[in-house]
Structure formats: structure tokens, C-alpha cells
């Protein structure tokens, strides 16, 4: 597999006729780990949902290219089959569909009709991933996310990422709702996968807290404020933000405090029932 590259060029988008992103520029290559941080309501989750093609978000301008192909022109499922993966902040619960049936269907969706994965290789891969994530052995036969705790849902997103082997994975606040042990398990699994796959996979993490970065060491840390990337640095930038907050950066960038309410609601829209 060649080294993937996700290029985001001057991307702007809106939700409910309100522009949230005002020109995002970012490039994620295989083998790189990027982290996006920023105050509530600045557009982090909006960026993730827009890249995946959530129907609530309208692209106003700019480009998003995956390996040179126009991502924004593709339907959601095609983006996924091209190798984009979004671990969601609020995964949907699907009654009556078992995790195992869903995962096998999703894996086969990326494979040609004459190379579909068989039951036994699939169960072997699934059981191994369940074990590595220290999940309940009954999870594959439970309905997709139904009745899962917040932590189980997040681990289930990582389970899917492990099995689907995406080219570029976006993890939207994968650390929220995780207890200390679960955070360690998720962090270690993501890091191991990044190491194993090397340049075959790029990672874009969205988080509020530096603690996740104790387990997943980033190459780049970007700060989004007011719908734009206002600063890019390395792990030390995340540590400074954890220590000092965002106010110094806001002043440095000459930004006004973002209004709470509408923008926060727009960010929270991703994952909520429409």
C-alpha cells in the first residue's frame, strides 16, 4: 500500500446557515500523528464530520483530497471505502444488528466480491482485536453499541478501526468518557496500530486533554480557534495548553472570545439525532 495523504485546503463549511470553519489548511500523511486541540465550539468536530460527509454540514469552499482524489465529491460510503475512518464522539446505537455481523459486512464492503472474508478468518481477527482491547468476550454478539457504556462505545470504535485498517483515521474525542485504565488500553492500542502500519496509515486525533498524548505521542499539534488553525507545534504545545489554557493564544492571535451557545451547539450536533 502506498503512503496515503489527506490534504485539506482552505476548507470552510457551515451548519444551519452559520459558518463554522473559515478556511482550514492541514495535510496528514501516512506515518504521521496529528492532534487538533482547541476550546469548545471552535469547529474541531465540525471538521471531522465534514470530512466524513455528515449530511448536516455544508461545504462553502475549499478542498479535501485523499490521495489526490476529491473527497468532498464522494458519498459517505465511498469516502470510507477509499480509506477514511471516523471514530465518532457519539456512535449510533443500532438495535438488532450484532457487532459481529456489522463488522463483517463493513470489512467485506471494502473487498471485491470474489475476495470476501470468510467466517473463520473474520472471527479469528475479531476475537484477537477484542482481546487486545480487553473488551468483554460477549461484545461481538451484542447489538451494535446498544446498552454499551460510554467507555465500551469508544473501545468499539477502536475495534472497528483495527479491523478496517483505514488509510487515514480521525479519532474525535476518543478519550472522553474513558476511565484511567480504558484510556491506557485505547492509547496503547492506537499507538501499536500506528507503529505496526507505519506509513500505511495517518492519524488525526481531536482531543481536549494532554493526558491522551501520554500514550499517543503526536508529531504535530494544531490549535483551532474561531474556525481556523491558529498555531501548529509539537507535544510541548499541548503541554503548555494544558498548563496555561487558551487565553494567551487568543490574545496572541488577536482573537475575540468565541460566543458560547450557537457554535457549541453546532459542534455538538455531530452525533446527535437529527
Amino acid at each position: 500500500m502506498s503512503r496515503p495523504v489527506l490534504e485539506i485546503k482552505n476548507l470552510s463549511c457551515s451548519v444551519d446557515h452559520k459558518e463554522i470553519l473559515h478556511g482550514i489548511n492541514l495535510t496528514v500523511r501516512g506515518g504521521e500523528i496529528h492532534v487538533i486541540m482547541g476550546p469548545n465550539g471552535t469547529g474541531k468536530s465540525t471538521l471531522a464530520s465534514t470530512l466524513m460527509g455528515h449530511p448536516s454540514y455544508k461545504v462553502n469552499g475549499g478542498q479535501a483530497l485523499l490521495n489526490g482524489e476529491d473527497l468532498l465529491a464522494m458519498p459517505v460510503d465511498e469516502r470510507a471505502r477509499k480509506g477514511l475512518f471516523l471514530a465518532m464522539q457519539y456512535p449510533a446505537e443500532i438495535q438488532g444488528v450484532t457487532n459481529a455481523d456489522f463488522m463483517r459486512t463493513a470489512m467485506n464492503a471494502k473487498l471485491p466480491a470474489d475476495h470476501q472474508i470468510g467466517v473463520f478468518p473474520f472471527r479469528k481477527a475479531l476475537n484477537q482485536a477484542v482481546s487486545e482491547l480487553e473488551m468483554d468476550a460477549s461484545l461481538p454478539d451484542r447489538y451494535l453499541n446498544e446498552g454499551f457504556s460510554g467507555g465500551e462505545k469508544k473501545r468499539n470504535e477502536i475495534l472497528q478501526m483495527k479491523l478496517l485498517k483505514p488509510a487515514v483515521a480521525i479519532l474525535d474525542e476518543i478519550d472522553s468518557g474513558l476511565d484511567i485504565d480504558a484510556l491506557r488500553i485505547v492509547g496503547q492500542n492506537v499507538t501499536r496500530m500506528a507503529q505496526d502500519r507505519g506509513e500505511e496509515m495517518g492519524l488525526l486525533l481531536i482531543t481536549h486533554y494532554q493526558r491522551l498524548l501520554d500514550y499517543i505521542v503526536p508529531d504535530y499539534v494544531h490549535v483551532i480557534m474561531n474556525g481556523r488553525v491558529v498555531r501548529t507545534g509539537d507535544k510541548e504545545l499541548a503541554e503548555k495548553l494544558e498548563r496555561d489554557g487558551y487565553e494567551w493564544l487568543r490574545q496572541e492571535a488577536g482573537l475575540e472570545a468565541e460566543p458560547s451557545g450557537s457554535e457549541t451547539a453546532a459542534d455538538l450536533l455531530s452525533g446527535l439525532p437529527l
Binding site: D77, R81, M88, F102
Partner: protein, 373 residues
């Protein structure tokens, strides 16, 4: 191959007892194992072919006098909603009836008893079923091409337990009219699963919880195709303290189809400590589909727990996005969500009656075929 053989083979019900009905009426109470009937049905030495009376392993079956019209009138459900739609085929009460009494005694093992009602029967069928104290039974009523009404009058005596499965065989298009009344005594329990994946149907149930600790849990899975009408009326009446009921109904409706779940939980004065829940939902796949859900509670006692929910809606956009984000096409996501809407009821039926696993697998496959169109 005759209908009955096709049904039995499809559902995997070969090795359990069957009440076998043909166009001539009741045949016998007999094991339906293939080896018993190499060249046709073998004579059953425990059945009298003249009277159709049978006794086997703690079960007895005998013909009884047809019920009077006023008895059959009790099977008509109570009006739940004044504006409810008139049925094309209301439940008749003055029809010719073939009536039988089945008694099941506690014999130390569970009885699985599929009742086949296949072919065109000349008259309505009335079954009076009693589970004696402590008896446990699973009765699976499989109907195929049948137009005549079916009445079940069931008595669950102390500490007995009945799994009642009402399956309309997919692929046999006909109107189905089915009504049942169940009296549940102290410590006894009813678990009912109804599955109808095609054909118009009118199914009415009335359950009377008459002894402390009595329980009734009913689940219905309905797939309503275009131009079909499916209506399910269910009343559960709590008449004594500490009784429990739970109704759970899920339906999927295609274009121009009509579906209705009318649930009525009644807790009378004095039935304190009782618990009544109901949840009825329809998934409409097309704007032309019509559905009604009435989760009605009538409570005349303070110290009770009760909850009800009902909804008619279209597919959740967030669920579709989630499945598509994993590479499933929109059609594949639609199919998976639609099938998943009915599968919990089928899975629960297999969990309650393991002998029906092959039956459930067959029904699941039919659902998948329908949603893959």
C-alpha cells in the same frame, strides 16, 4: 410436496409433536418424525381415527362442542380508539367451528407442540388449551394458507408456563384472523411471540392476570408489505396485586401498507404492586405507508409502576450516516437497519424456545430477502 411438508421442512420442526390439521379437520396428535411416515402418514395407535381423541405423554386431545356465538363474542377486543380504522374483515362470531380441547399435564419435561393450520379448512378452529399446575409447554401455531378464523382459549393454572408462538408462514398470502384469550393463575407466566412477515392479519389478544405473581410478556414482529393491512390488538388486565406485563411490538411498513399496534394495559383498583410496560414502534419505509400506535394505560391503583411508548417514524439519519461511514452503501445501511428492527423479537423467540432456532433462522432469512429487494 404438500404444504405441510414444505412448512415442516422449512421450519425444522420435524422431531417434535404436532397437532396436525388438514382440509378434513384434525388428524392426530403425533410425532412428526420422518421415519414414522416413510410412505405416508403411519397409523397412530394412540389415536382413535373416528373421534380424533388422542393421549400422549401427558397430553390429551379431544373434540368438544362448538362454542356458542356469545362465547365467541368475548374474543372480540375492546374498542381502544374511537377513530380506529374499520377492518376489511372483522372477526366473525357466528361461524361454523371445529372445536377441540387440549390438556397438558406436568410430565417432567417441556412439551414443544407445533400446531399446523395449513390448507383451506372448512370452518373456524377453536382450541381450548389448559396447562395444568406446574406444566411447561411451548405451543407454536404455524398458519399458512388459511382464511378461516382461529380462536384460542387458554388457561394457565398455578405455576405453569407457556411459550406461545404465533407464526404466519411467509410466502402463503392470505388473510389471517386470530384471536386468543389467556387466563393466568398464581405464579403462572405467558410469553408470546408473534411473527407475520406478509399477508394481511387481524390478531387480537386478551390476557387476564388473575393470580399474584402472574406474568405476561408479549412481543410482535410485523413486516407490512404494500397494500397489506396488519392490525394487532392486545389487552392485558391486571386483576390482582403483584402482577407483571410487558408488551413490545416492532413493525416495518412498505409503501401503501397499513399497520396498527393497539395496546391496552389495565390495572384495576386493588392490583397494587403491579408493573405494566408497553413499547410499540413502526418504521415507515415510505411516505405513503400508514401506521398507528396506541400505547394506552388505564390505571385505577396508586402503588404501581407503568410505562408506555409508541412511535411511528422513518429511518434515523444518524444511524444511516454511522453505517455508511464504515463503507456500507445507503441501500445496505437501509437493509441492515430495517432487518435489525425486527430481529430482536426473533432472537428472543429462539432464546425462549431453543427448539425454534432453525425456525428463527428461516424467518430471519425471509426478512433479509425482503429488505434486500
Amino acid at each position: 410436496m404438500r404444504n405441510i411438508d414444505k412448512i415442516r421442512t422449512s421450519l425444522g420442526l420435524d422431531n417434535i409433536y404436532g397437532l396436525y390439521f388438514s382440509h378434513k379437520g384434525l388428524s392426530s396428535l403425533m410425532p412428526l418424525q420422518r421415519q414414522d411416515r416413510p410412505g405416508g402418514r403411519a397409523a397412530d395407535p394412540k389415536c382413535d381415527p373416528l373421534t380424533a381423541s388422542c393421549q400422549r405423554d401427558g397430553m390429551s386431545l379431544e373434540p368438544i362442542a362448538s362454542p356458542e356465538p356469545e362465547e365467541l363474542a368475548l374474543f372480540r377486543p375492546v374498542e381502544i380508539e374511537q377513530k380506529k380504522k374499520e377492518l376489511n374483515r372483522p372477526l366473525p362470531v357466528d361461524c361454523e367451528t371445529q372445536a377441540y380441547r387440549l390438556r397438558i399435564s406436568p410430565v417432567g419435561h417441556q412439551v414443544n407442540l407445533p400446531v399446523y393450520l395449513a390448507g383451506e379448512r372448512p370452518a373456524a378452529t377453536y382450541l381450548d388449551i389448559t396447562l395444568e399446575p406446574g406444566a411447561e409447554a411451548a405451543i407454536t401455531l404455524v398458519t399458512a394458507k388459511t382464511e378461516e378464523p382461529i380462536f384460542l382459549n387458554i388457561s394457565l393454572e398455578e405455576n405453569s408456563r407457556l411459550d406461545l408462538n404465533l407464526i404466519k408462514m411467509p410466502g402463503y398470502i392470505s388473510w389471517q384472523l386470530l384471536s386468543y384469550r389467556v387466563a393466568v393463575a398464581t405464579g403462572a407466566s405467558l410469553r408470546q411471540h408473534a411473527v407475520n412477515l406478509d399477508s394481511s392479519v387481524y390478531q387480537a389478544g386478551q390476557v387476564f392476570l388473575r393470580g399474584e405473581g402472574a406474568e405476561a410478556r408479549t412481543q410482535t414482529a410485523a413486516f407490512v408489505n404494500s397494500f397489506e393491512s396488519q392490525r394487532f390488538d392486545m389487552t392485558i388486565r391486571h386483576e390482582v396485586p403483584h402482577t407483571v406485563s410487558d408488551m413490545f411490538n416492532h413493525g416495518v411498513i412498505m409503501a401503501e401498507g397499513f399497520g396498527c399496534f393497539a395496546g391496552r394495559g389495565v390495572i384495576i383498583k386493588g392490583a397494587y404492586g403491579s408493573k405494566a410496560d408497553q413499547d410499540s414502534r413502526f418504521l415507515a419505509l415510505d411516505p405513503a405507508a400508514k401506521a398507528e400506535a396506541y400505547p394506552v394505560l388505564i390505571i385505577d391503583e396508586y402503588d404501581v409502576e407503568a410505562g408506555h411508548a409508541g412511535s411511528v417514524g422513518q429511518m434515523d439519519a444518524e444511524s444511516l450516516f454511522y453505517l455508511q461511514s464504515r463503507g456500507l452503501t445507503l441501500d445496505e445501511a437501509h437493509s441492515l437497519i430495517t432487518a435489525g428492527y425486527l430481529f430482536p423479537i426473533l432472537h428472543d423467540m429462539a432464546r425462549c424456545v431453543p427448539a425454534l432456532k432453525q425456525t428463527v433462522a428461516y424467518l430471519q432469512q425471509r426478512v433479509i430477502e425482503k429488505v434486500s429487494l
